[in-house]
């Protein structure tokens, strides 16, 4: 009787801890591979997404991809030195607006995905590093493979992506030039207003292709 109870307890305990353990040992390259494969499998099999159903793509990105991104870090990198002069409330609005902008861009790119294949490059031993770069290559016939790297940082237990580097160009810090121009001309509030106006104008014309 006691033995049976003990086994039961053990089972219950392991069932409780297993997901935690799995989360803790999720290496950054495994994370990138898992999420990429999951998302692309869905995109490849979903006719609605391939036909350009934007809301559906958005929902997919929202569920599978966004939890693994550090938008605060991304926004601060995109805004640059101006970030320090923004107050916490302005920072939150910047993050919210930039997030919408990035998600739309990413979702757009995703609907274009067809017969390309992704190669995951082996990662060097990174034990102890708080920041790593996971390299992949997108292969498509007749063209040079496009290197796409993900820069990840460990915050607590989780690894979060804070930059995507396409062909050596950082998609996030690449915003710094135009954002700095906006801040210099119209201040932080001006940048927020421009981003929000941009999102609003695109929201209006959204839904179809």
């Amino acid at each position: 009787m006691t033995k049976k109870l003990f086994t039961c307890c053990l089972l219950a305990l392991s069932a409780f801890f297993a997901p935690l353990a799995a989360a803790a040992t999720q290496a950054p390259d495994e994370l990138v591979r898992k999420v990429t494969n999951e998302v692309l499998t869905i995109v490849r099999s979903d006719k609605a997404i391939q036909a350009g159903d934007f809301q559906k793509t958005l929902a997919l990105v929202d569920e599978k991809v966004l939890p693994h991104f550090d938008f605060r870090r991304m926004t601060s990198l995109a805004v640059g030195p101006g970030w320090r002069s923004a107050n916490p409330e302005q920072q939150e609005r910047l993050i919210a607006a930039f997030r919408i902008l990035l998600v739309r861009t990413y979702s757009n790119a995703l609907t274009k995905f067809r017969d390309q294949t992704i190669e995951f490059k082996p990662m060097r031993d990174n034990s102890g590093d708080k920041r790593v770069r996971v390299s992949t290559e997108v292969h498509q016939s007749g063209a040079q493979p496009i290197p796409i790297d993900y820069a990840l940082e460990q915050t607590g237990q989780d690894w979060k992506v804070f930059d995507v580097i396409v062909n050596g160009a950082s998609l996030v810090t690449n915003y710094r030039g135009e954002f700095a121009g906006e801040v210099n001309a119209k201040g932080i509030e001006g940048l927020i207003a421009s981003l929000e106006a941009k999102n609003k104008s695109l929201e209006a014309g959204q839904g179809g292709k």
Binding site: R72, R73, S76, L77, V79, G80, P81, W83, R84, L101, L102, R104, T105, N108, A109, T111, K112, R114, D115, K121, P122, M123, R124, N126, D129, R131, V132, R133, S135, H139, Q140, S141, G142, A143, Q144, P145, P147, D149, A151, F162, D163, I165, V166, N167, G168, A169, S170, T173, N174, Y175, G177, E178, F179, G181, E182, S194, L195, K198, L202
Partner: protein, 254 residues
Amino acid sequence: MKNIFLAFATFLLVAGCANAPPEDPLEPFNRSMFSFNEKLDNAVTKPVAKAYVAVTPAPVRTWVSNFFGNLQDPWIGFNNLLQGKFADAINDLMRFVFNSTLGIGGLLDIASEAGMPKHDEDFGQTLGVWGVKEGPFMVLPLFGPHTLRDAAALPLDATATSPWTVPYANPIVHDEKARYGLSGMKMIDGRARLLGLERTLDEGTLDKYRYMRDFYLQQRRFKVLDGNMPIEYDDFDNPDEGADNTPQNPGGEQ
């Protein structure tokens, strides 16, 4: 064609004196050329590329891409040779030999499947490796974003990767119409593969000229250095911490 380059060179001399930021001395000219190219693309190139995608089955488009891609490989290999990367140069030459024969005149890219990767080299990159500075950024009519260095290499790069355009008594393609046909087809193929990108630029940026320029320059520098280019990430949330580099990927070789 020569006239265009001449007129362009004259214009550069004039435009270079105008007031513009130091990192982009030709900005006013570049912006107007950028929007000119955009209008041209909207009116002609993009609709044609869209129609091409609509009427051509995907496998055929892949053959077309492979065919033009194969004709680049000897030039890519030659540039690897000029940059002292002999193993890569041999790889590129073998690609051309394999794909031209077993790959049915380049329609199939069997070399990639056999483990011979396609490289990305051109004479502009070779000049960069040799230490030639990139010079000002410029948007060329029809040919798009370039640095002065890459624009100077462009006639050579374009001719060497499209052998049918070799001027004077072309030994490869005799028929003039066929030559234009090939050039047109290559342009449509290239444009078709970029369909959708303009929407990303339109929707994802506040100033697409600036984003495009910075993106172009970053990835050109990355290619010249064959991937050995660290990106610096400052921490703007933590003023005590200075800039540092992100670790590089081990397989930096492109």
